[in-house]
């Protein structure tokens, strides 16, 4: 049981993710989380604004069930399978973050400077959360997939479009981490 309560190593998590992808294909579907964002738009009536959203969203119910499971799994892990919320980071990472204004890196899963309720209800904090989401949602649908669809499924299937997308993920991610984040806090 102690094994489960400790943080899981990469060589446990990677194979489990591969098994999840296998199971989704085995059950006749596929691994891709960001398409749920479009399904949510369709349910919310976005079909009135664009034909793009005029889909029979009920055929994507399985994926919404997957998301409901992901939320439930997050609840189970947080409440019953985790004894310690600290993240063991490289001391260099902690130092780098302190220098750009993010304190106590690794004390919990998420930095208060971005995710605390106080930050969320501030104008700047709310704006950062909203814009981050906008870029993820718009970018994922433009690229036709996110980490699950492109980086895991697409690369496994040796798809060139996915390789290009993952290169894009890194161009964007490196730009944010090295250039933009230091300016924000």
């Amino acid at each position: 049981m102690d094994f489960i309560l400790q943080p899981w190593a990469w060589y446990v998590a990677g194979p489990v993710i591969a098994i999840i992808m296998f199971l989704l294909f085995f059950y006749g579907e596929r691994f891709g989380v960001s398409s749920n964002l479009e399904t949510l738009c369709s349910i919310g009536g976005a079909g009135k604004f664009s034909n793009y959203f005029k889909i029979d969203w009920k055929q994507n119910k399985w994926n919404l069930m997957f998301v409901a499971g992901a939320i439930t799994g997050g609840f189970i892990a947080a409440n019953w399978l985790t004894i310690n919320d600290t993240v063991a980071l490289n001391p260099q990472t902690v130092k780098d973050l302190a220098e750009i204004g993010i304190k106590n890196a690794g004390a919990t899963y998420l930095p208060d400077e971005i995710f605390s309720v106080e930050t969320m209800i501030s104008v700047k904090g709310f704006f950062i959360l909203l814009v981050a989401g906008l870029m993820v949602g718009f970018g994922a649908r433009w690229a036709g997939g996110c980490t699950s669809g492109h980086a895991i499924t697409g690369l496994s299937n040796l798809e060139i479009p996915s390789l290009i997308s993952v290169i894009g993920f890194f161009i964007g991610g490196l730009t944010m981490t090295w250039i933009i984040l230091p300016l924000l806090f």
């Binding site: 489960i4 899981w8 190593a9 990469w10 998590a13 591969a18 098994i19 296998f22 989704l24 059950y27 006749g28 596929r30 989380v33 960001s34 738009c41 793009y52 119910k61 998301v67 499971g69 992901a70 939320i71 439930t72 799994g73 997050g74 609840f75 189970i76 399978l81 993240v87 980071l89 990472t93 998420l110 971005i114 995710f115 605390s116 930050t119 969320m120 959360l129 814009v131 989401g133 870029m135 993820v136 949602g137 718009f138 970018g139 994922a140 649908r141 433009w142 036709g144 699950s148 492109h150 798809e159 479009p161 996915s162 290169i167 894009g168 161009i171 964007g172 991610g173 730009t175 944010m176």
Partner: protein
């Protein structure tokens, strides 16, 4: 009720995302800083094992539970779509420290502020639908 299996697979997904700290903003930051092998190990090993799965699907060694052949829908081609869309996604991924899967897992961790990110992401998908004929693919 036939969708209950996807709910169960989702639970496994939520647990592994949480337990391997993939939902931690810091794990994404350190990945883009090249200061830890953790995320590279996870994605790399998932892809390597995934390649074996894909091979078995393509060779029809493994079929669906109903005995049908498994087709992997090809990703859409287009340099602008993949490179520009991917770059925008990467900017958001590194800022939010979460891609779409972990965002939902964080709801289960009772992180209220992630709802703003999910709202933004849904709005982003909506804007894409409105603008998709006007942007390069």
């Amino acid at each position: 009720m036939k969708n209950i299996k996807f709910f169960l697979i989702g639970i496994l997904f939520g647990i592994v995302m949480s337990k391997a700290e993939i939902i931690s903003w810091y794990r994404i930051y350190e990945m883009f800083k090249f200061q830890s092998f953790h995320m590279y190990g996870i994605i790399g090993s998932a892809v390597l094992i995934g390649m074996v799965s894909m091979f078995l699907f393509r060779k029809k060694v493994v079929k669906t539970f109903e005995g049908n052949e498994i087709h992997i829908p090809p990703k859409k081609k287009g340099l602008y779509r993949n490179l520009l869309g991917g770059t925008l996604f990467g900017l958001g991924w590194a800022l939010a420290g979460a891609c779409p899967g972990p965002m939902f897992v964080l709801v289960g961790k009772e992180v209220v502020s992630i709802l703003v990110v999910i709202f933004g992401a849904t709005l982003g998908a909506f804007f894409y639908g409105l603008l998709k004929d006007k942007i390069p693919h």
